[in-house]
């Protein structure tokens, strides 16, 4: 149980959960869950690009996520196709093109399942360095963005009138989201990444009175899900990434019950 591969998996899952939780709060507050899913799904295309170009897949993912974010920003200005349709097109196109591109790659067979659902038990020291470095950079960026991003999230015009540089703040947020998706890919895979962003945040909502409390609560829920999911995976030999998401979902369901009891009229 204290074998090196498991400790590495634990460190990776905890690191990703702690970074994803506060960022996921903004995804929830800004109602960008589907946007996050689009970035994540199209990350498969980034992986294929990374392999084809011989660079680290994390770089490929970050690049594709940034490209998708820019495409969405540009195309949102037209009105004939709704945002949800646009995101749906990009998500599935990115996934499909990524799958096709991966099939062209020669050499040792690509483990597609690892990309789609994560392979945290196979995390290497190199992966850990990526997760640690990317995670710290993301948290630092988020700390710097925190107040202006909250102000923009609440009311863009008010923030603008108060002198917040709205566009750079929003771009900064997209960038941190892209990096988070890149580092989370190894743990839960492109299809489940968004769950690490939104489920812990949703779990923390009913216990929080301030945005900061919600971020801390989400981090706690995410960390608990990471540890619990890995333990369960080891115990029952279930896939690690999905197990983490299952535990996160159980915690969310429990928060509904606890919240309902706490709010029930006394006497």
């Amino acid at each position: 149980m204290t074998e090196a591969f498991f400790l590495r998996a634990l460190a990776a899952a905890l690191g990703v959960a702690l970074v994803a939780a506060p960022l996921g709060c903004f995804v929830v507050w800004r109602r960008m869950a589907y946007f996050g899913a689009t970035l994540a799904h199209s990350a498969l295309l980034g992986i294929a690009l990374g392999i084809l170009l011989g660079v680290n897949p994390s770089l490929g993912i970050a690049a594709s996520a940034i490209a998708i974010a820019l495409i969405v920003t540009v195309f949102e200005r037209q009105r004939l196709i709704g945002r949800d349709t646009l995101l749906g097109i990009l998500a599935h196109a990115g996934l499909a093109i990524g799958l096709v591109a991966l099939s062209f790659i020669e050499g040792p067979r690509i483990d597609l399942m690892a990309y789609l659902f994560g392979d945290v038990l196979a995390v290497t020291r190199r992966d850990l360095i990526w997760i640690g470095g990317g995670g710290l950079a993301t948290l630092a960026a988020l700390a710097a963005l925190w107040r202006p991003l909250l102000a923009v999230t609440l009311n863009e015009e008010l923030a603008r009138a108060e002198g917040v540089a709205v566009v750079p703040v929003q771009l900064g947020f997209m960038l941190t989201l892209a990096i988070t998706i890149a580092i989370a890919m190894k743990v839960v895979g492109v299809l489940l990444i968004v769950s690490l962003l939104i489920i812990p945040a949703a779990t923390a909502r009913r216990f929080a009175r301030t945005p900061e409390q919600m971020a801390v609560g989400a981090a706690a829920a995410g960390a608990l899900a990471a540890v619990g999911g890995l333990m369960a995976s080891l115990q029952w030999d279930t896939p690690a990434g999905p197990s983490i998401v299952v535990v996160a979902t159980v915690l969310f369901a429990a928060s509904l019950v606890v919240g309902a009891i706490a709010r029930a009229p006394v006497g």
Binding site: R160, A165, R205, T210, P211
Partner: protein, 308 residues
């Protein structure tokens, strides 16, 4: 986001030789704003000086909010120009502000978002709008009147030189409206700030207004409330009754209310020297005013019935 959004920082306009008086905070000249093919504003001139209250009135869809948003730099004019004193600190109270309940937020945290490192100013800002008790309250549980007061406190957080208030008393009951306008007038007097305000409440707002601008896509008329009320264009837009109400109220303002709606200074016996309109409104103060708390001499804790 509108396609024609202006540059982000509302306070940075290209510097140029200012043709305005030293006390001028913001101005518009020959302003025209189009939304697509619709011309919302044409040939609008506007000047706001330090220490004066300028009130924009006009029918729905007259372009009042568009004008204040153009003055703030939130939308770019299609013609004409907007000038703001370089480095001008602005406090803004937008017209329709809703806060999504997915975001947990206390009143205190909401105020602290106004500027970096301003957490220590929260208490003072809430004190100014007589809402200090609300600091720890969830912003989602406020009544309409409480919320408008909190929005005003937020606008005060930046030590503004110019307050831009877009219908600041919406959702506030009648006595609360008077109290809020009185507060705005007192802030103007104490802090020397300029106020640009959009209002529908003709007869209430005028007492605290130095200059009225009657807007209907263009400036119909402007001037002191009494002068505007005699202007034929004003009566054409708002009718005789409004003109009378405007004139009557501006001469009948002989006492003040605090924000709970209570009369804080009245020289004479209440009710004796007032017309029926005023007496009615006064009785109203003491019968409800739910939105503005129940602090008629009771303890603070009494103020919020919703709390257990």
């Amino acid at each position: 986001m509108p396609d024609n959004a202006a540059p982000d920082n509302a306070a940075t306009e290209p510097a140029r030789a200012t043709p305005y008086a030293p006390g001028t905070l913001a101005a518009a000249e020959g302003l025209e704003v189009r939304f697509g093919a619709t011309r919302v504003l044409t040939q609008v001139d506007l000047v706001v000086e330090a220490g004066e209250v300028v009130t924009l009135i006009g029918p729905n869809g007259a372009g009042k909010s568009t004008l204040v948003r153009a003055v703030l730099g939130l939308i770019a004019p299609s013609a004409g120009r907007v000038w703001r004193r370089p480095g001008l600190r602005i406090g803004y109270l937008p017209q329709r502000m809703t806060i999504d309940p997915v975001l947990p937020l206390t009143v205190g945290r909401f105020l602290a978002l106004a500027r970096a490192g301003s957490a220590t100013k929260v208490e003072a800002a809430l004190d100014q709008v007589a809402a200090a008790a609300l600091a720890g309250q969830s912003i989602h549980e406020l009544s309409g009147g409480e919320f408008q007061r909190v929005l005003l406190a937020r606008a005060l957080m930046r030590d503004p030189e110019l307050l831009v208030l877009d219908e600041p008393v919406q959702g506030v009951d009648f006595s609360g409206q008077i109290a809020l306008y009185d507060l705005i007038g007192r802030l103007r007097a104490r802090l020397g700030l300029g106020v640009l305000m959009v209002s529908h409440d003709l007869h209430v707002v005028m007492a605290a207004t130095d200059r009225v601008i009657c807007l209907n896509h263009h400036v119909c008329c402007s001037g002191a409330p009494e002068v505007v009320s005699r202007n034929p264009e004003f009566t054409a837009l708002f009718g005789q009754a409004a003109a009378r109400g405007l004139a009557i109220y501006s001469h009948d303002h002989d006492h003040e209310h605090d924000l709970t709606g209570a009369v804080v200074r009245s020289g004479q016996e209440d009710g004796q020297q007032r017309g029926p309109q005023h007496g009615q409104q006064h009785g109203h103060d003491h019968t409800h005013g739910h939105a503005d708390g129940h602090a008629h001499g009771h303890a603070q804790g009494h103020e919020r019935e919703r709390n257990p």
